[in-house]
């Protein structure tokens, strides 16, 4: 199947269209809110919340007996929020560290959820099938009404985020200062937390409990590498998230036996890896290149300074010296000498070199600059 065919299919095939739309919206909203989570240094909170949502799903099913995903999501939301606030309670009231609290809530809630799920499976109730999908997610089970729910929640998120943009931003940057300006930081804080939990819960059906945290983190971590502006970062994270959703769906649809969730996560991981390496300002590649360039400059400067030392002893700065003199000096290579010639700092004449006037001055300047730095 080629690409044009696939694109046609996306528009004509109900299931594929629903899934593509669903994963795209999901990616966008998690990317957006994930940026806040990452900047608040709460990256792993998402992992804990998604696991903590599981018992809520099971209990909602036990109470209502309904498989309607909206009812189950409300259960997930409540238990996710309980988990979140319990984590805060543990961290603030005991000496346990935040990572222990996260790990505790994550594993204990999940284990309890598993107990309930296996208990439900043994019940004589025909409706039970399909709760498993919340473990690993099954994008294929998305229906139009799910996509509507996602779209509505995303819309609300967007409105709230745009309305309180200024407040979110200042809280993320400097909480104490925000307080002194007279803002109620607790309200802003709870608002952000509730929306993060909401986004996570929304994604459970599609990518599942286990992989949900990656949807939150990966687009945001990738986006951070390309920009130094919060608004651009949030926007880019939404784009990266949505693209991961669309691409992931396409890849998994084009092959047999490929579940959508893991593929989406891997696509997002590729975005991250690409951004880490190739981002022009922060990326590892350019950083390495700059590092090498700096080292070369340093070698060049060292050679030049050394020549300057020799030249200083003569009244005529352009007095020629033998290249041999440089051989024992570690900064010197044929390469650096050639570069110095290229820069017109040095003139070569057979086996002899001499400093030019510019070369001498540059070297002298280097020297004074370095000595002031040493102070």
């Amino acid at each position: 199947m080629d690409i044009t065919e696939y694109i046609q299919l996306v528009f004509t095939d109900y299931t594929l269209r629903t899934i593509t739309l669903g994963t795209a919206i999901l990616g966008a909203v998690t990317g957006m809110l994930g940026s806040f989570a990452v900047l608040r240094k709460q990256s792993l909170l998402g992992d804990a919340i998604s696991h903590a949502a599981l018992p809520g799903i099971a209990i909602a099913f036990l109470i209502t007996g309904a498989k309607d995903s909206n009812t189950l999501l409300i259960g997930a939301l409540i238990s996710g929020l309980i988990g979140t606030f319990w984590i805060r309670g543990i961290v603030s009231k005991t000496h346990l560290k935040s990572d222990t609290a996260l790990g505790l809530i994550l594993s204990l809630f999940f284990g309890f959820g598993m107990l309930l799920l296996t208990f439900i499976q043994k019940q004589p109730n025909a409706n039970q099938a399909g709760l498993d999908k919340y473990l690993f997610g099954q994008a294929a089970t998305l229906v139009e009404s799910d996509v509507w729910t996602m779209a509505i929640v995303t819309g609300i998120c967007l409105i709230v985020m745009l309305t309180f943009w200024k407040e979110f931003k200042i809280l993320l940057f400097d909480k104490d200062y925000t307080k002194t300006l007279g803002f109620n930081t607790k309200i802003i804080d709870i608002l952000i937390t509730v929306f993060i939990v909401l986004a996570i819960v929304l994604g459970l059906q599609t990518v599942g409990v286990v992989l949900m945290s990656a949807m939150l983190l990966a687009p945001a971590a990738a986006a951070r590498q390309w920009t130094n502006s919060l608004s651009v970062m949030v926007f880019l994270a939404a784009i990266f998230g949505a693209s991961s959703g669309i691409l992931g769906t396409a890849i998994s649809a084009s092959q047999n036996n490929l579940s959508t969730g893991p593929v989406i996560v891997l696509v997002a991981a590729v975005f991250v890896a690409f951004s880490f390496i190739f981002s022009p300002s922060r990326g590892l590649l350019f950083r390495q290149i700059r590092f090498i360039k700096n080292r070369r400059d340093l070698e060049l400067h060292k050679t030049l300074t050394f020549m300057h030392h020799i030249a200083e002893t003569h009244e005529d700065i352009s007095h020629p010296h033998a290249i041999k003199l440089l051989n024992n000096f570690q900064g010197y290579t044929k390469n650096t000498l050639q570069k110095l010639v290229d820069k017109n700092y040095v003139q070569l004449n057979g086996n002899m070199w001499s400093l030019t006037k510019t070369g001498f001055e540059t070297a002298a300047n280097l020297y004074t600059k370095q000595s002031t730095k040493d102070e």
Binding site: L39, F164, K169, F173, D176
Partner: protein
């Protein structure tokens, strides 16, 4: 509310009391850090708060600003409770208290100073931007306005924080160690701005570490070590006696160096 105690610390300039702290006691996890502090800061002074590490200097500022909740005592700004006088007060936190890798620019950080007067939801507009640019100019950072904040030096970051407070156009400024980790030229720039603020009739309160520079920079000083040791004009009370009381026996020697 109550004007029962008029002490000797009557200010030189205007006679008004800018900040009044009554019987303030603060405890972290119920471990006491500030004990029964009574403090009156006259309007128009440039005051240093000095004391050893762990003396509660930052805590004092933070509890005056309502960031920390004291277990006893009250704070008033120009005779009214702090909550009602917030717009008169600006705060410069310690540079290390925020994540400088945050994706934002210098101008953006300075603009945050306008958020308080804007209130909820309303966005900063041209007026706020103009004020922020002016504040950046005052601290000599105008050419860095679009710089990402992580690409600024320590001294430049401190100037940005100062500009953010300036843009609030407050009457009272609280600063937590503004000279910590800054270069010499920034230190001079900052102290000149502080002196200009005092000239304009503002009150400036600074948590300060470097005892040598106290007489040169400040005209008022508070010695603090869990309790208030002394407060008053530098020329009257900045002496070996108070230093010894605050820092312990051997402090005299090291300050004369």
């Amino acid at each position: 509310m109550n004007n029962h105690s008029v002490d000797k610390e009557t200010p030189a300039s205007t006679g008004k009391i800018a900040v009044k702290v009554d019987d303030l006691t603060v405890a972290y996890n119920y471990k006491p850090v500030l004990w029964d502090i009574d403090l009156e800061i006259p309007e128009g002074v440039l005051m240093a708060i000095v004391g050893p590490n762990g003396a509660g200097k930052s805590t004092l500022i933070k509890s005056i600003l309502g960031i920390l909740k004291p277990i006893a005592g009250s704070v008033s700004i120009y005779g009214k409770p702090y909550e009602k006088q917030r717009q008169l007060v600006a705060y410069v936190p310690q540079k290390g208290s925020v994540d400088w890798d945050f994706p934002t620019t210098a101008l953006d950080v300075v603009m945050m100073g306008t958020y308080g007067s804007l209130g909820w939801i309303k966005r900063p507009g041209q007026k706020e931007k103009k004020a922020s640019l002016e504040a950046l100019e005052k601290v000599g950072m105008l050419s860095f306005k679009s710089r990402q904040i992580s690409q600024l030096s320590g001294g430049q970051q401190q100037r940005i924080f100062l500009a953010r407070a300036l843009v609030q156009n407050a009457s009272i400024y609280f600063m937590d160690e503004p000279f910590q980790g800054v270069d010499a030229s920034t230190e001079i720039a900052i102290i000149n701005i502080l002196k200009a603020l005092r000239k304009a009739g503002k009150t400036v309160i600074v948590v300060h570490h470097d005892l040598q520079t106290v007489p040169e920079y400040f005209d008022w000083v508070t010695f603090l070590n869990v309790k208030k040791i002394a407060t008053g004009p530098v020329k009257d009370i900045f002496n070996d006696d108070n230093l010894t009381k605050t820092y312990g026996i051997n402090y005299k020697v090291s300050i004369q160096e």
